[in-house]
Structures are given as C-alpha cells and as structure tokens.
Amino acid sequence: MSDSILTDDIRALVGFAGERIEVTFPWGIEREGLRTFTQAIMDRDARYWDEDFAKSTRFGGLVTPPIYVAYLGRRSPPGSEDTITAAYAANPNSDGIGGVARAESKGGLPPIRTTLKRVLNAGNEIEVRSYPKIGDRIFSQGRYASIRERVTDDGAPMIIITTETTYTDQDGAVLCILRASQIRR
C-alpha cells in the first residue's frame, strides 16, 4: 500500500524484543516495600503480611499483588543520583519527572518514528499467571506485539501500537504479562 503511514522501518519493529532486565534490587522483593504498596491500594489481605496465615494458603508463603512487579523498575536505586533534584536543576518548572532517565528505561524499546505526533492511551491488559514471593528477583522484557494502521472516522491516519511486557522470576517462570496500547494520530 503506497500511501501507508506504516513505513518498512516501523513494520520491522513488530516482534522486536528489548533486553531482559532485572527490575528488583539485588536483595529482591522485600516486606517493607510490599507494605507501602498494599496500603496504597488499601488491600488488607493477610497473604501479603501474615507469614503463618500465608503458609496455610495455596501460595505457601507471603506473596505480592501481581501488578506490584510493574512498579519495581521505576524506583531509584540507593546511591544513585537524586532524580528529583536533577529534574529541577534541568528545569525549575519541572513537572517532577521530566528529562530524568528512570531505571526502567534500561531494556527499553526503540522509538516508533512517525509523523503522527498526538499520543493517546488506548488501554491496558494484565494477564496474571503467578504471584511473586518475598525474596524473588524479578525481570522484565518488553516487545512490540503489534503495530496496526487504522483510519479515524474523519479519514485521518492513525496507528495503534501494542507493547507487551513479560515479568518473570529468577527461575524464568512467567508471573504476569502487561499489554499497553497506544494510539498515534
């Protein structure tokens, strides 16, 4: 299709996978981080904090919410540059995060180079296979699952980009898969 907005370079990215990277710190998942996370989602489930009870469940011990893994990679490692100070040093009117590379940018996917500048979130999907355990080391790997071309109701071109991030533990077992779709138009 000669007038396609999908260039050969873009099509070539479908299926491209980034590097598998560790998103936990060397000590793995720990209880204090889990406590603050579960309290922030107002989940009082004893499977996350009562070891004796957790041992009596099908999980055999303390576990974390499945989505917890998605936020591990954005935390600043100890000893690293103070990202907040850096953001404001670069721009006194910073939005608090702008321009500061995050740990999760490691293993990132190459950008989709298109003339379509407007970016919209088209939805998320979470598929859960297993819950992480205390002490687990967690790894993530992203890939472009699909890049599709569509036409809006008013005839304008747009593309829908779906990225898939798979989270695994230190043994390679799949914990959960996150799919995020983004519209460019």
């Binding site: 603050t36 009082r44 004893a46 099908r58 499945p66 998605a70 939805g123 979470i126 598929e127 859960v128």
Partner: protein, 173 residues
Amino acid sequence: MTSDSELRDKPQLYFDDLAVGDDLPALVIGPLTPSHLFRWSAAIENWHRIHYDQSFAIYHEGLPNILAQGSWKQSILPRYLKDLCLPDGWAWKVGFQHRAMIVPGDTVTVWARVTGKREVDGLGLVSLDVGMRLHYGPESCPGTATIVLPIRGGRSVPYPFEPTADMQVEETD
C-alpha cells in the same frame, strides 16, 4: 473496604453460583483525598506533580484538580478481582481503558457483571464487564475480565495458573 478477616475467611465463589447478568459484590473506595493520591505516588516513586501539587495541576497543566494515577486504577482492578476469586479461584485477565478522570472528593465503585460462562478443561471461566464508576455517574475505567473459578465437585484451579490452548482459543472467539 474489605476487612482483614473477611479476606481470611472468605467463602469460595463457585462457577455454579453465577449466571449471565449477575452483578458481583462491588468495592467502594472513597471519598479519595490528596493524601490517598500522595501515598500512591510515594509507594511507587512517581513524582509527577499533577498527582500531588494542586497549583501545578490547575495553573500549569490546566487540569480541574490533582489527578488519581492511571497506575493506581490499574492496580485496583486486579486487587478487586483477586478478592472476588479468593481463596482458590484465579483472576486471570483484565483489560480496560482510562476514561473519566478521578480527583479528590470522588468516591469510586469498582464493579463487575457476568457476561459469559464456559467450562474448559474442568474449570469455570467467567467473562465479566468491569469498571470503576464515579459517584456522580461517569465510568472511569471500563473494561472486561476473565476469572477462573472451581466447579462444585470439580478439580482445583491450578496454581501457578497456566492457561491451556483451549482457554486461549475460547478467549479470542
């Protein structure tokens, strides 16, 4: 809000207990406050000011108020489905879109309605419409989900949960 003891002692929901059209028990959260939003930002180290700096959100970004994080919504829906499936069912999949903004003062009702049922490999797969409805009506997070429940007298839902090919095929039909 679901209590500790309710989660510890929750009776199992079975596939047989549900019919298409059934509404599942809702989870009501709120009214949300700036403190709730800030707690989430701190927990995941998201320092974007639109989530805790009201002046920045309104006067710099043109927003009506500070906003609840999309990542918070993304975490609440799996938590709700997990609670529904406890102790031995499995909240397998949930997909959703981000629609109406959630701001301080809003109360959110997390809900699910049965839209389909099928038995696959001796397990009960239940399709749901799900969402997070704001107290004044708009839907903030419309989506769909699939949970896996035991069938009375049937086998246990395996853990870890590995979907079979038949489950995946049915899911895409």
